[in-house]
Symmetry: C2
Subunit: 235 residues, 2 copies
């Protein structure tokens, strides 16, 4: 079965967490909005009445199922493609970690959209600077400290132990994204998270991920996505 | 088995979404931080090394499992207690809706904490006012319009059709919370969401919920929680 991924074509964004999982799994998929049908097909599915219309992208069509919410898509894909444990307890734990990452992603986004997603960054620069300062002072240490500790305590190559899960793929994305968006601040911070940096490298070297990163499907970070390089926010 | 719920004792907060589900289900549970062990027991579990230490409350101890993230706890409880469909597709759909509610809850919280959770409201009043204006102009119509449409399209008593799920309990909480936090704005807005208001009433009348709401376990909304009444933000 070929999956259909629906997400904004011009950014990595939340869709990227799904793309990384699909690529690692070697799963056949179409990135619909990047193809001839464009975003129109995506908007049409969100406007559907009856059934399970998603609130927002990303969403995945898997046969008859239409699954929305990034972490929910990964929950679905995880067990099917060996990217999560098979036990219920294991699945819940990995999902919990992904939801924590999702909360962090929202806070990353809010460094440049502190007054909400409907205003432009340019209309809230002052607030964005204040938010970014707080973010680096309090929130990055809290979130990445938590994952660094897990990596340390679990003693394996991956954050939950010896086997890769979709959470590790997402943490790769977090490290690369923060390096892109806040190069100075991240450079200073990284020395405190050697386990996560190591993990990032290990994920990047995995054959399917390596191939993906070198392909056209992996577009560059840019200033429309979640990770945006605004120099004035970089301390 | 008696569940153990761990959450900040003095607020409804995110814990309330779990309490409503436990109460509706008639499940035996202890609200640990409200008892003699207090929050110390909770902090100890978060500081654990190895195992599955939660990043933040709420979390639920269910036998040997420790489950964190509000929507993840509800995912776990939902199928066990008849608060979610049994089919995989049904579970994923309900979970997706709950994750959408969780995103909305975060935005509700950010109306009074636009610069991040570590500053006090008093230090970001100006920004909070701007954020609240945008929130009511763009975000409330988008989120509640989505759920109102679902209720309408599904034609049943509940948002996913004929049977109650934990999503309906959470929507009850959203309506009551917004009424508390933004009485003027919500009063003006409500006429546009008759289905959700109806749903709220139907949930409130369910025997276990009715009993819970009249009990001591349902504490009042206050200005430490997610829904806070700050007059200056109420238009």
């Amino acid at each position: 079965m070929k999956y259909e991924l629906y997400y904004w074509p011009e950014i990595q964004g939340r869709g990227e967490y799904v793309r990384l999982a699909l690529e690692e799994a070697g799963a056949a998929y179409v990135d619909v909005a990047r193809g001839p049908r464009g975003t129109a097909a995506m908007m049409k599915m969100m406007d559907a009445h009856g059934g399970t219309p998603p609130f927002a992208p990303p969403f995945l069509k898997a046969g008859k199922l239409v699954i929305g919410q990034t972490a929910n898509i990964l929950l679905y894909l995880g067990s099917r493609h060996g990217l999560a444990p098979k036990s219920e307890a294991g699945k819940l734990w990995v999902h919990q970690l992904q939801l924590t990452i999702a909360d962090f992603v929202l806070e990353i986004h809010d460094t440049h959209h502190p007054l909400g997603p409907s205003l432009y960054y340019e209309d809230a620069r002052r607030e964005a600077k204040k938010r970014s300062d707080e973010f680096w002072k309090e929130r990055v240490p809290k979130y990445l400290g938590y994952f660094e500790q897990l990596a340390d305590d679990n003693g394996g190559a991956y954050v939950t132990g010896r086997r890769l899960t979709y959470v590790d793929l997402s943490l790769f994305q977090i490290v690369d994204g923060l390096r892109y968006a806040f190069p100075r601040r991240m450079k200073a911070f990284e020395s405190g998270i050697p386990g996560l940096v190591d993990l990032r490298n290990r994920v990047a070297e995995r054959p399917n991920i390596k191939t993906y990163l070198a392909s056209e499907r992996r577009i560059a970070f840019n200033e429309q996505g979640i990770f945006r390089r605004y120099k004035e926010l970089d301390g």
